[in-house]
Amino acid sequence: MATLLQPEKVLYLVRGEKKIRVPLSQLYFCRYCSELRSLECVSHEVDSHFCPSCLENMPSAEAKLKKNRCANCFDCPCCMHTLSTRATNIPAPLPDDPTKTTMKKAYYLACGFCRWTSRDVGMADKSVASGGWQEPENPHTQRINKLIEYYQQLAQREKLERDRKKLARRRPFMPQAFSQHTIHVVEKYGLGTRLQRQRSGAPISALYGLSLKEGEDQKEITIESAQALDEVEPLPEDYYTRPVNLPEVTTLRQRLLQPDFQPAGASQLHPRHKHLLMKRSLRCRKCEHNLSKPEFNPTSIKFKIQLVAVSYIPEVRIMSIPNLRHLKESQVLLTLTNPVENITHVSLYTCEEGDPDDINSTAKVLVPSKELVLAGKDAAAEYDELAEPQGFQDDPDVVAFRKSNKIGFFIKVIPQREEGDVTVAFKLRHDFRNLAAPIRPTEEGEATSEAIWLTHHVELSLGPLAT
């Protein structure tokens, strides 16, 4: 029976860029556009960062500085588990009296899963519990920074050249004396437009003497080009005869966790700070309103804004399926739940012939023609044992039972194919009161807003035919 409650049995159609069929529990509903949205047709944004082990929130500026890594937590380089700090007592000489020794606390990192410790790679024990561990620095950092500066200088020159060309073209339209560019040129060289006219055809080497700004601290940055080597170190002689100690050689995955060093030996694997996770907020692409915004606090699972489809659209679920036989009419029991607090009217329609959405159905379906009325969701109803009769007149052929905001109703299914799964589709039309729409100030007395009718395409997969 529980298999009937699986969400993939009932799919709602989302009309986005592509038509997607998704269970209602995975959909969002944009109140402003009054449409269903799936994860594919919303834009995702990073909301906040937090560390998965210490659950500490990190503001995004700090996260950017720390390269999205937690300051306190470390990952084991061997098995990627979180490292824990352990303390031992070591004897250390007292500062005042070298002959006496006292027990001092020393901290080291250890992995609870693979038993790796920071002593294996030769990291000395630290005297503070946190903050003492440093990651090794990339030896090429300086060279790379110099290269970036050099290229930035070239880039600035190119930009200057390009801007000058743009301004030079507009020469007839702008008075010369007021061009910011010529003022610069005139001040530097004492020449006027003549220089510019000559310059546009002049060889590029003329720019080399030009310094970029008026300030004196801008000097030309040159770098030595890299030197190529004549010889490369060969493999050591004993490489061919030395047996391989597999635990000492790092696996590719362990190496790639540290892209700067990629050590081949396990004795050089240093732990790295733990990478952060992020919380995501979703935004409708059309109206740019937020559909989902989580709480700032990492330990809280609630949402500030949560426009999920299950809290606005009535949900169809399959309750029981009889034996389905080819070309024989059978009754399937479905339930319809009303998520909102006011009364909802639902009507069902069969899909017409040639409906472009109706591609998967393999059976004919007859839905109740009368409108179904659903009572509003009453939060206190579960505590109220004496449920009062709700006073709805239900046709017993259509409505099987009614319980607070839920009804069970029958549909008739006639499978058209001899083999395969039976899939049916129909349209669900319900009224939706948009409480998000602003209340006009002139009509204060009106508490209810306009109801709009929404239609959704629903597909049910009823399983295989009974043999």
Partner: protein, 418 residues
Amino acid sequence: MPLFEGLGSGGEKTAVVIDLGAAYTKCGFAGETGPRFIIPSEIKHAGSPEAVRVVQYNINTEELYSILKEFVHLLYFRHLLVNPRDRRVVIVESVLCPSHFRETLSRVFFKHFEVPSVLFAPNHLMSVMTLGIQSALVMDCGYTETLVLPESFESIPILSAWEALPMGGKAIHKELHSLLSEQCTLDTDSGPGLSLPTVISAIPEDVVEDIKVRTCFVSDLQRGMKIQEAKFNLDGSAERPAPPPDVEYPLDGRKILHIKGSIRDSVAEMLFEQDNEEKSIATLLLDTLVKCPIDTRKVLSENLVIIGGTSMLPGFLHRLLSEIRSLVEKPKYRDALATKSFRIHSPPAKPNCTAWLGGAIFGALQDILGSRSVSRDYYNQTGRIPDWCCLSTPLPDSVYEAGKTPPPLMKRAFSTEK
């Protein structure tokens, strides 16, 4: 200065640099010294045990679009943790990447993630940027293939002189897998010394890759020649040099695979064996030199740059240099090439991240990154990405006003309007 990188200086955020390789993807931010993450280019779905490769050129557009969308989503929201809408993107790619793949990738970035601009940078050119030199002969030994492309005279690629061979990590894995299946035995609970195909049908590729990385190496020239002779020798007179020791490799925790020592050094020989067309990785370099104009040859041969993950095998570089030096004496090249000196560079990054580093250096140049990228407006207007091999693309107005102005000083090679 690195402290204030993203916070001051005009307020533009650092660009995202992605090197989408066939086996591994390197992703990170511009201006940094190394990628943040090197992850396998594949997606794991909850249902199936097999991962789906991201870089596939033969599948239809819809499927490729959804795979790329999922992968880029993971890159942004699990590894980089930034909003796609705020930052420009630099994609380091191979020159031989099919246009269909590029178009789909750019559609994913522009339509779904709405990035402000995308720049496609060739990986050979980017590796030259990490050295501060103007000309180099770049060889990329990757997963699917090895591609050689020379760059000269302020880094213009000599496109007519490219050479490629499908010898890369994938070929090594295949060869290694077949050697293991034929020659190695397995110890399991049921008994020792079972042959491999009886126990498991195929070793998964990541296990084969791990075996390659941890146990295999490239022998030096003399030893390698002897191994090749012994392999191809028909009358059995050539002696194979003593193999290195066997390795016991644990599989799944219940089986132990005995890897024969002879496999360890012979599997990498296939990179240097000359096939029926007498091509091997080393001849690629020499053939390229022959195709280049004579005045550039000396400069290029003294500035070799080797990038790519496969070149990180122990002993690879030494062997490659020795092979080139011995091949240049052969009659085929001796008369054609006057230059006999070969020098190799060591870039400030590991060979598998060098191209990424070049992209990061370029991405840090905010002044011109904007003008050379394809912006979202341009893409929405034309609906296409300009390609170096396509002449029908209209020029974007922002860069060149008139055809009369000479192209700018730097990197005239791969600007988007070709």
